[in-house]
Subunit: 234 residues, 2 copies
């Protein structure tokens, strides 16, 4: 296994934004897609935006074998199918960071509403579907894809991380904080993804209230106040 | 009808904190409780903390008649019963600001979990139960009661406001922003309370992760980043 960060669904908006930011930070990226050709094109787009980026594009299963911390950034309608397809690729000891949000838009509903997921959240659905020995963390739901992909924009946002093991969350936190302006916040157990995944719909609702001809398109984020100084993850 | 701000459930932690802060800002307060005697004692505690506070304590129904914007700050287990009891007191044109959170603690569950409310949220349950002509806004779910009641603590938090009419949300926003350090954010339609009410459980989860012997008890809050400058409510 390599030392890259596989981004499954890396041709989508969030996956692309994360790939750009991490590539800029010198992280090696393996962009995954159902279609290896589309993945290769996405990798090329990253290299154009970030000269010298270490990025390759692969079919999802091949990408997933490229590193120990696999980022899952697919639309909810592809969540279950993608995890099924990854069953033969993921190996015990790998960590899956699920960024998926069950927006009602997956079934042609509003993006300010979410679907009920039987297991409680997309991340808990992922936990049920990954091979034994693969653990799941949920993160990056409130980080807007558009801001990520505008490399000259500063972020100044928190990444809320849910997971059942502190050491797993710490790995995602370290990766998140390689992106300038992002602070990783420990949001609690994986089941708390049930709340945190909803926040994407909240941000979309807030964005729609504040965007205007005068203000332009607004891309809001979240910060948690009142936390102690210092490195929570040390 | 008077010009006070009635706080139904004003003997509880959140109601008391809001009463203290608004009294400090010179707002006239009518603290409501099921028990008029307990309400009077709560009013006395506010006067002790804020000399010169204009505050009285009354049975809930009497308090609700004291002003046009009624704040509902009861535990979820008392939500439905309280609204039933207020049916004869609330009048068309009044605005109800519901702060109630359906924490699972209402039925002896965890405070990091919430109950499913048939209508979608406590605020939507309130909307179903108030007399015709009374409108409902939801707010203050992420503002910790403990920080509010420590008058020397600065807040630096956003109040997320959900409601179906901008003018109603603006009234709650004006009231919220009388408290130094609070900014009112338009979170969307009343149905978005389904998301925002969950945030109390999220804050409790975060607080438990960051509180320690060294850091002491942590009381987190939320701020929305990326919003345009200027007064959204003008």
């Amino acid at each position: 296994m390599g030392e890259a960060v596989p981004i499954i669904g890396g041709t989508g908006a969030l996956g692309h934004g994360l790939a750009l930011r991490w590539a800029q930070a010198g992280v090696e990226i393996a962009i995954g897609s159902r279609d290896a050709e589309r993945a290769a094109q996405a990798a090329e787009r990253v290299r154009e935006a970030v000269p010298g980026a270490k990025v390759e594009g692969l079919e999802n299963s091949d990408a997933a074998r490229r590193g120990p911390l696999v980022v899952l950034a697919v639309p909810f309608r592809a969540h279950s199918e993608t995890l099924n397809n990854l069953r033969g690729a993921l190996e015990p000891g790998q960590l899956l960071c699920d960024c998926t949000v069950p927006l009602a838009a997956a079934v042609a509903g509003k993006a300010t509403r979410t679907l009920g997921v039987w297991q409680g959240s997309a991340a808990q659905q992922a936990e049920e579907m990954v091979p034994e020995g693969v653990r799941v963390v949920a993160a990056f739901h409130t980080i807007g894809a558009r801001l990520l992909s505008q490399l000259d924009e500063s972020l100044d946002q928190d990444v809320l991380i849910c997971g059942d093991r502190r050491e797993d969350k710490a790995k995602v936190a370290r990766l998140a904080e390689l992106i300038p302006g992002l602070r990783a916040v420990n949001a609690g157990a994986l089941e708390t993804a049930r709340i945190v995944e909803q926040l994407t719909a909240l941000m979309i609702s807030i964005n729609s209230r504040y965007s205007s001809g005068e203000a332009g398109k607004v891309y809001s984020g979240l910060q948690v106040t009142g936390l102690p100084e210092g490195d929570h993850w040390a």
